[in-house]
């Protein structure tokens, strides 16, 4: 789930709760205030009546046109003990002027006369508008509440999205980052946290780049430094082999040593080659006729691998001319082809398709797909114990593709291992 969605979700629940409480309280206070207002009027009214009545003055007309009505009656002692001194209630009262029953607020006040007798004053005022007012308030409150919630969330989402832009830019930057191909991070921000994030990301990329550079240089340097000792070792064996005093057994041993030396030198050369490709030392590029290169490689390899009895089918669907380094393209085709021969089964076949912008090599072999993740890794060997395969062939293919801006994919289709190189 997106961060914005998360934040908005976690905002909605508490906001909704707070607003609901707020609205409830608001509603209660307001409706209470409405009753209060009526009660205050009734209180003033009843106090006026009581005091006028006690002072023996003329009482106002009980129906003075204001819809307020009152009556005073004496209380028996039983009624006195039961009733409260001051009491409010809602009641439906018959209103003369309207000729029907209407809801009214009623106030009872019990007071004492100078002679010790108790009286009860009942005043009432119709409140037929109260329910309408309350429901209007309720609806208005609810509408405002929802509008406010929506407005707050919309504002929040907008602000959040706006302020989170640097984060998304950093994420995009990291997504697009490929090791060894650093792009500048354009993410100006005055937010401290994002400045820190930028700095951390840059720092992290720096370290990755340095580590990658060191590793790359190490392999090249190591292979390079090995050249002279390897040469010395190989040449000393060769010198020894020229000695006529050697027995046949010694000669055989030397031969085996030389064989191993040769493998070691080849491995070192391949590593150097790989390191050179990765360091982009093959800069010179020309128009390379891929079809012609392919023909030449097929011809040569057919001769070399004649003994394996592998059948090669070439499907030429078009002409591919590529602007690239000739040596690299030759090596690419050769490595792809040799891979197809090397991991083939006896009496197997190799199908080669070429058209403009694409070359596919499919070969029979083991009946299970290779590990796509590790396939192009250095020294990856799908079949352990296979001789004369140093596990670098496909790494070279991959490195050449990257250096020449080509794509390579592997798939296992219909019992065949298919490698596709395309623009």
């Amino acid at each position: 789930m997106k961060l914005t969605t998360h934040a908005i979700r976690s905002l909605i629940a508490p906001l909704a709760l707070i607003f609901t409480i707020w609205a409830t309280v608001f509603y209660f206070i307001l409706s209470d205030e409405l009753i209060d207002e009526v009660d205050d009027q009734l209180e003033v009214y009843s106090e006026q009546i009581i005091r006028q009545w006690l002072a023996g003055e003329t009482l106002p007309d009980s129906t003075d046109g204001s819809n307020n009505t009152y009556y005073i009656r004496p209380l028996s002692s039983t009624e006195l003990s039961m009733g409260k001194r001051v009491e409010y209630e809602f009641k439906n009262v018959y209103i003369d002027s309207r000729r029907e029953e209407e809801p009214a607020r009623v106030m009872h006040t019990i007071f004492e006369h100078n002679d010790g007798s108790h009286w009860k004053l009942t005043v009432m005022t119709p409140v037929y508008e109260r329910n309408e007012v309350i429901s209007t308030i309720l609806i208005a409150t609810l509408i405002l509440l929802v509008l406010m919630l929506v407005a707050i969330i919309a504002t929040f989402a907008w602000a959040f999205f706006k302020h989170m832009q640097p984060l998304y830019r950093v994420l995009d930057h990291l997504d697009n980052y490929a090791i060894g191909k650093r792009q500048p991070l354009n993410n100006d921000t005055n937010v401290t946290e994002f400045q820190r994030l930028n700095a951390s990301v840059e720092d992290c990329i720096d370290r990755v780049e340095r580590a990658y550079e060191r590793e790359r240089r190490f392999i090249g340097d190591a292979a390079h430094e090995l050249q002279t000792p390897l040469a010395i070792c190989q040449n000393r064996i060769e010198m020894m082999m020229e000695d006529d005093a050697l027995t046949e057994q010694q000669m055989i041993e030397l031969g085996k040593m030389q064989q191993t030396m040769a493998e070691l030198i080849r491995l070192n050369k391949t590593l150097l080659f790989l390191s050179k490709i990765e360091n982009n030392q093959f800069i010179e590029s020309t128009e390379v006729d891929v079809n012609a290169k392919l023909h030449r490689q097929i011809e040569m390899l057919a001769e070399v691998y004649e003994a394996k009895g592998i059948y090669v089918n070439l499907y030429e669907k078009g002409q591919w001319t590529l602007n690239a380094n000739e040596e690299l393209i030759t090596s690419l085709i050769s490595n792809l082809m040799r891979n197809a021969y090397l991991h083939n089964c006896p009496e197997g076949s190799i199908d080669i398709y070429i058209k403009e912008g694409a070359l596919c090599v499919a070969n029979t072999g083991d009946n299970q797909p290779l590990d796509k993740e590790k396939l192009f890794d250095r020294f990856y060997k799908a079949h352990h114990g296979k001789k004369h395969s140093n596990g670098l062939g496909l790494s070279i293919v991959k490195a050449i593709c990257e250096a020449s801006h080509l794509n390579i994919t592997y798939s296992f289709e219909g019992d065949k291992h298919l490698f596709s190189v395309f623009c």
Binding site: I21, T24, F28, R51, L54, K84, V86, H113, N114
Partner: protein, 144 residues
């Protein structure tokens, strides 16, 4: 969560307080001591018809109505804020002497029938329908 519950509790207490009855009948004993003393001093003979406590959101006040129609209001501490005797004269001693003498000087025949005070001024109503306003220093500031 605890905070939330606490908050809710506060809210409902407030709501409950507000919605409680505004006027509660009380007996003379439930008045503040100061108010009781005031009543004994100035209304020793008068009989209470009705005594009430008025609860508002912010303040508490008391009022007492006598069987002769007189009314006295007190604040929460028991200090009087209003004495109203409808048409008869206020008991002597309630109106401060400085005000009393000013009234005598201006309206020798009139009697004070109602006096109100708050923290800023005094309002005195005379039986000749004149209303006088005094400031804190008992100086006449307005005649209505």
């Amino acid at each position: 969560m605890k905070k939330m519950i606490l908050f809710l509790a506060c809210v409902f207490t407030l709501v409950a307080n507000v919605s409680a009855d505004n006027y509660q009948p009380i007996t003379r004993d439930q008045l503040p001591q100061k108010a009781q003393t005031f009543l004994t001093t100035y209304f020793a003979d008068a009989k209470i018809s009705l005594a009430r406590k008025e609860i508002d959101v912010m303040e508490l006040s008391y009022d007492v109505i006598f069987t002769n129609g007189c009314k006295v209001e007190f604040d929460r501490k028991g200090n009087w804020t209003e004495v109203d005797c409808v048409s008869t004269a206020l008991p002597i001693g309630i109106v401060p002497s400085a005000i009393e003498s000013t009234i005598k000087a201006h309206y020798p025949d009139a009697k004070a029938i109602k006096i109100e005070r708050d923290h800023r001024e005094y309002d005195v109503k005379l039986n000749n329908r004149v209303e006088l306003t005094f400031n804190k220093k008992m100086q006449l500031v307005d005649i209505d």
